[in-house]
Symmetry: C2
Subunit: 452 residues, 2 copies
């Protein structure tokens, strides 16, 4: 049964790109974690900015709300339909422009996966500053819409800093393009920065101009086994005071490491008995000398250093395999929080018992990005008690002056908790901006801003 | 004669801080360049965020428009009154908080001059990332409101990247504070980034949380005398490909250097005959070794290297004294533009004759920040022909795909030219945001957005 909207959409993108059959829609209606799902009116797959604009004009004319979806790798349910929205999939916006070697920039379609851009630009000695595990699926548009983070935020910031420009289609079908990529341009409001991280609620991002960074080949990875969070923070401070080329400082713990070693059959990286593990990586040009990690003052630590690519990758595996090892046990609740560094030791000590109080069967595994105090709190075995666990952890984070999302965003998962991290006045201002750019609430209803 | 508004404002801030006498108002009614002036209804000097909120509520109730003024060092007339507005001076918002050494952040009042913050934090081995010549007058609030740049943008970006949080009072007197300074916080729209660079048109910034950077003491300055812009670009590319610690790459030319040497009685830094001069500075931790600037491949260059502070300062003087030497000749038109690097050689070659065509008596001196293609085009002797010179240069910049402002902003000076750098659709979106946050247009009318 094709209604007016589907017919009009088909005339824009071709009937083959308006998906209405339930089995074809299915993969667009559930997120990859399986936690979020809903029903789509249809899925529409435009292939250009112009088609996106026409699609939005049709949807606006029929008051058919729209959910924007990239690679569907989000963790907060921000890209799946809820109540019969049209899913606008960006995956056909899949072109990559020529690299501008002088500016170190490239313009790509929003639907291009991160890894495709990486391959394209690395041949020229350039790289995308942001990198994360789902690089083969996660689209550039999605990374921008969610202001993605990852393991190199310490050096390069989150996605916002890598966005040199973009094209956006607003809810009324108006297209605004800002793709010149000038490294300085102080001519009015930062629309590009505002759209970055707006989670599809202010407009559909269709093209992105990326500021690239040089590929840095002189790399050293060190894994430090330490007595706890406090020493990890001290060690990071020592290292930061010595080197300007630090790129990552990843934290994990004895329980997570044990899980990784058991599940993946890896040997322990150092003899046991340590509580906290800090993985640091420095990166510089070819001719840089490797920094010394040996002397950390009075901080007791076992240190393993790796310089060749294989050995470096082996150390990284202990950190990166956490998600995989945890998922092998069960479907976790994944809470992505930021805690002020001064409160980090307390947070890590208290959270497991807080979780157990909310759900006695639950088990907590923590890892994350130390420099930003951005921890991924994974809770296993909390089936049925998700809301209790979520609110216990998020309210504790808020009480410590932290944030309920470091990099995953708000989506549908945390919209109800937004007031834990943003004041009433900020939310009022955000709503005013939403109304200004999307007066009828056509785009991603229920995402980011709580109903109200 | 005190009217209702002044009486109400006096009851908030005290009669001594509502300036109505013309001679007392005078310094607030003209910018320091003498190019922009107007009449203020009065000048009000609130001493806290709460007082700012009450001031704005009174002004809103009486439909008395407001112009926000910090150190009054702007270059585009964005902080001086035009038609009888109330001038809200932030200079009593002058407190400095304790430095958070773990996060490397400090919260300060918007009216604190940059140099006061620098003195405060340098004792702790920290620094403000942005630095610029009017540091003793320019206020932190003004730096944020205008998204200031300066000489270290290459390494640290413009002011926006240093703003870890702020408090703002919106036009209706609502206060929104976001001062936790979390290094990652992905919870909705980037209001802080939006307000940065909004030139006082969306709200009054009253407090700023600054992300600081380490003081880097291992410094090398090199002045390269080169045959022209193309070689300067090539030399910068070589240097950037070698070092990750480059902090500045400043460009100037034979005519500007001659002016500086003549006016300040300085010796030539190298024997003459070169067209372009590139001043680069690297900075790193104590123990870093100085990078080598000697070999630049096939690029012919005379190179002077300075490592000790006095010698470094001596080289910097050739660049920094440009503004002073130019002002000693006359009041220049100062155009702050960005040109794509690929068009830079052409731009520098063409602009002087373009200016002469608009005004035969005019003389052009160019200097600026090479990495961003951000040039300060100073035009002397164009009295009476300002509009012709301005539009000739700005239209040429736009034709090359550049920007009409790299760091000074739009203000009143360039509002009429905004459409040269922003599309109709972008300006429509900016107007929608302005209406959303300041529906009656109370704040800085005529600044940034052209009437329409």
């Amino acid at each position: 049964m094709i209604d007016h909207v589907e017919a009009a959409l088909s005339s824009i993108v071709g009937a083959g790109h308006v998906l209405v059959a339930p089995d074809v829609r299915a993969s667009y209606e559930t997120d990859w974690t399986g936690r979020f799902h809903g029903t789509a009116r249809c899925v529409v797959r435009p292939a250009s900015t112009t088609e996106v604009a026409e699609v939005l004009r049709v949807c606006a004319a029929h008051a058919a709300n729209v959910v924007v979806q990239g690679g569907n790798t989000g963790l907060v349910g921000g890209a799946v339909p809820s109540q019969g929205e049209v899913v606008l999939s960006t995956t056909r916006l899949r072109w990559i422009g020529d690299v501008d070697p002088i500016a170190a920039q490239v313009t790509v379609g929003a639907g291009v996966p991160l890894s495709a851009v990486q391959q394209h630009v690395r041949r020229l000695g350039l790289d995308v500053a942001v990198d994360l595990a789902p690089r083969d699926s996660a689209t550039v548009g999605g990374l921008v819409a969610t202001n993605a983070g990852g393991e190199r935020v310490l050096r390069y910031g989150t996605m916002r800093r890598s966005v040199a420009g973009l094209s956006v289609v607003f809810a009324d079908g108006t297209v605004a393009s800002r793709l010149s990529g000038l490294p300085k341009d102080n001519t009015g409001y930062d629309l590009v920065g505002l759209l970055t991280g707006s989670e599809g609620t202010l407009g559909v991002i269709t093209e992105v101009r990326l500021q690239l960074v040089p590929v840095l080949r002189s790399r050293t990875v060190a894994l430090l086994a330490l007595s706890g969070v406090t020493d990890a923070l001290s060690a990071m401070a020592v290292i930061k005071s010595r080197v300007s080329i630090l790129e990552a400082a990843e934290l994990f713990f004895a329980d997570g490491l044990a899980l990784v070693c058991d599940r993946l059959g890896l040997p322990r990286p150092v003899p046991g008995g340590h509580e906290a593990y800090l993985l640091v990586e420095t990166a510089d040009r070819e001719d840089a000398s490797a920094p010394l990690f040996a002397a950390l003052g009075n901080i007791p630590a076992e240190i393993v250093v790796a310089e060749d690519p294989v050995a470096r990758q082996r150390l990284w595996r202990y950190r990166e395999a956490h998600a995989e090892a945890i998922s092998a046990v069960g479907i976790p609740i994944k809470l992505d929080v930021v805690v002020p560094l001064a409160a980090l030791t307390e947070f890590v000590a208290q959270v497991p018992s807080l979780v157990t109080k909310a759900c006695s069967a639950a088990r907590t595994v923590i890892f994350g990005h130390l420099n930003e105090g951005n921890l991924h709190v994974n809770v296993l075995g909390a089936g049925g008690a998700e809301p209790a666990v979520e609110s216990a952890v998020l309210e504790y984070v808020a009480a410590l002056g932290g944030s309920i999302s470091g990099e995953h965003g708000i989506g549908r998962a945390k919209a109800a908790y937004l007031s834990l991290s943003r004041t009433k006045e900020e939310i009022t201002a955000m709503r005013a901006i939403k109304r200004a750019l999307d007066p009828t609430g056509l785009l991603n209803p229920g995402v980011l801003l709580p109903p109200g």
